[in-house]
């Protein structure tokens, strides 16, 4: 859905980097380089970015109960 505000494992706030990450990844930059330059060093935080799928636009099409 939305990128989590913090890393699940270590608690570091990561959501503020999401839009920059997404934009740069779409421009074809390697994900490793983006994460390195954003200062996301631990593998727990890095996995949050690599595994995330932004589904909010899809979910928004359906009715909320």
């Amino acid at each position: 859905m939305m990128i989590p505000v913090r890393c699940f494992s270590c608690g570091k706030p990561i959501a503020q980097h999401w839009e920059e990450y997404k934009e740069r990844a779409e421009n074809g930059e390697s994900r490793k380089e983006i994460l390195d330059s954003l200062g996301i060093t631990r593998f727990c935080c890095r996995a949050m970015f690599l595994g995330h799928v932004d589904l909010i636009d899809t979910a928004a099409k359906f009715k909320k109960f």
Partner: protein, 265 residues
């Protein structure tokens, strides 16, 4: 006790330092005081007036709770220790409002009555609104402690023994093999001798792979009274503030203990 400052970055949010001549108990006390006792601001109650976004009220409230807020320790007190006896007053809580109608809602859209307490990372997305969707809420932030909920913890903090590698050259048959076995690249061969790369020494995590490779010539950490501390602030407080406040809190706890001892017969 001897303290050596190693690094501090430009934002002063991250720091590392070495403490010498302490034992693991004291090192861990410092770590736990930092995580559990240093107060910070975080959103605790959310009153939602309007929300027809895709996310449920609870999810939005949960996201808001996790936002780090810049904290001014001088003008707030912890709610349970406040004169209002936990009812919530201007000394221990702060009202923030969020109202938005279109597009991505960011943490920076929050209107706070206190300019010193605002979301530490303004670019944090909270929810995405489509056409016709809107959100309106009042959030109450309060000063709390990490022992009650991790959202009030000020930073990541961890320590390790300071790496000390003793190499006696006598019977290392193949120095290259020892270099290869180190996952952090701490060792190197200089003019046929096995040496430590001082720039990388702090990366050593004492895995002892080198000592296994050359059992009689390499010895790791024969002393265990030197610690390397790392502090990585979540954004509420600066690294230095965190350590100083943690030590103040430790002093306070100890004086409470002392008082309790004095009343004992």
């Amino acid at each position: 006790m001897e303290i050596i400052s190693l690094t501090q970055d430009k934002s002063k949010m991250n720091a590392s330092f070495i403490i010498k001549k302490i034992d693991p108990t004291i090192a861990n006390t410092l770590r736990r005081m930092i995580i559990e006792e240093v107060p910070t601001m975080a959103i605790e109650d959310v009153e939602i007036m309007k929300n027809n976004s895709v996310l449920y009220d609870e999810i939005i409230a949960h996201r808001l709770g996790l936002l780090p807020l810049t904290t001014d320790l001088k003008s707030y007190v912890v709610k349970s220790e406040c004169k209002c006896e936990g009812k919530g007053c201007a000394r221990c809580t702060l009202q923030m409002t969020l109202k938005s109608k279109n597009g991505m809602v960011y943490a920076s859209d929050f209107k706070s009555k206190d300019p010193k307490v605002v979301p530490a990372y303004p670019k944090t997305p909270i929810v995405k609104l489509l056409k016709g969707q809107e959100i309106e809420l009042v959030a109450t932030a309060e000063l709390g402690k990490g022992k009650d909920h991790i959202k009030w913890a000020p930073c990541m903090v961890w320590y390790k023994y300071k790496p000390i590698i003793n190499i006696t050259q006598a019977n290392i048959k193949d120095p290259e093999a020892v270099v290869k076995v180190c996952p952090k690249g701490v060792l190197e061969v200089r003019s046929g001798k096995l040496e430590i790369n001082q720039k990388k020494l702090m990366l050593c995590n004492l895995c002892a792979a080198c000592a296994d490779e050359a059992p009689n010539s390499i010895k790791l950490n024969e002393k265990d009274d030197e610690f390397v501390f790392y502090i990585e602030s979540f954004g509420q407080l600066k690294a230095k503030e965190i350590i100083v406040t943690a030590l103040d809190m430790l002093k306070k706890e100890l004086s409470v203990f002392e008082e309790a001892l004095n009343t004992m017969k």
